[in-house]
């Protein structure tokens, strides 16, 4: 179980690392922002953005899990953390989907 979580944490991190330079590049060209934002109105792009938000939430929650395991005194709750991570990512994804 935790192993799949670790894989999800890694893949989301990888995807974010690849996405960031693009994200910065677009924001750096503030004047053309609207043309870009118009492009993001397409359904497929919207879906990809939703994916990014979920990835960010997933990576955040996975990272918080690691920090808790490494820095807090060891307790049995450690085994239940996985569910918390999945729950948080889902909640963030839902919130974003509803706000769109």
């Amino acid at each position: 179980m935790s192993r799949w979580l670790a894989l999800a944490h890694r893949l989301s991190g990888l995807a974010l690392a690849l996405f960031l330079p693009v994200h910065f590049w677009v924001l750096g060209r503030a004047l053309e922002l609207d043309a870009f934002l118009a492009w993001t109105e397409q359904p497929l792009v919207k879906f990809a953005e939703w994916g990014l938000v979920v990835l960010l939430a997933l990576h955040l929650a996975g990272g918080l899990r690691v920090l808790m395991l490494e820095f807090l005194p060891w307790r049995d709750w450690a085994k239940g953390l996985a569910a918390g991570v999945a729950g948080f990512a889902l909640a963030a994804g839902l919130a974003f989907a509803l706000a769109l």
Binding site: A6, E70, W74, A78
Partner: protein, 238 residues
Amino acid sequence: MSATLNVSVWRGGADGAYRDYEVPRHESQTVLDVVTHIQRALDPTLAYRYACRVGMCGSCAMTVNGAPRWTCRTHVDKVYKNRKLEIAPLRNLPVIRDLVADMREFFDKWARARGQFRGARTKADDFARVAPGSEARKLVDAAIECIGCGVCYSACDVVAAIPEYLGPAALNRAWTLAKDERDTLGVDRLRAVAGDAGCHACHTHMSCTERCPKGLSPTAGISGLKRAVAGAALRGEL
């Protein structure tokens, strides 16, 4: 309960293959019982290891239906899913033959992690008295019952990816010594377990903790080492 078990057993070295056997099923049968039956009744050339049969010696670990387990304390009922029982040597270690893995690298890493106790007293001195309720002693207690079975090492994906990674068992051992107030190795041991081949390579997967048959948590010990080593580095002692 059907009368026979369908069992696939790894035969040969790294380039070996599974061979199928039919083994009579019994009440309260362990996976080790199955392997023993095959060797005694069906094929005396089968190589495997065990000693105590009661979960103390740590020599009988194998890969059972894809997961590492101590076979003497694993009941067939628990693992015989979909009428399949597949038994292989431990992962992440070289195969010698059949179900016997080469444990040398596994134990060499204990030595590399400075897993030996080093004290300051001689036999002329009185016994050391360690308060059972002290924080350090409780941490050691939680980690000390390792039987060296290699199950955690076999379950760890970082061991699979980074051959020189010391692995959960050796690091867990180093942790029990780092927290032993009689031990004098101190920062030398922390140095031995630092960095990319040591505790900082661990991703906190918890596969080791989920699989350890003794219910230990190498992940907890490794986390403790990470903090101890980082502390030493920040104080300029490393």
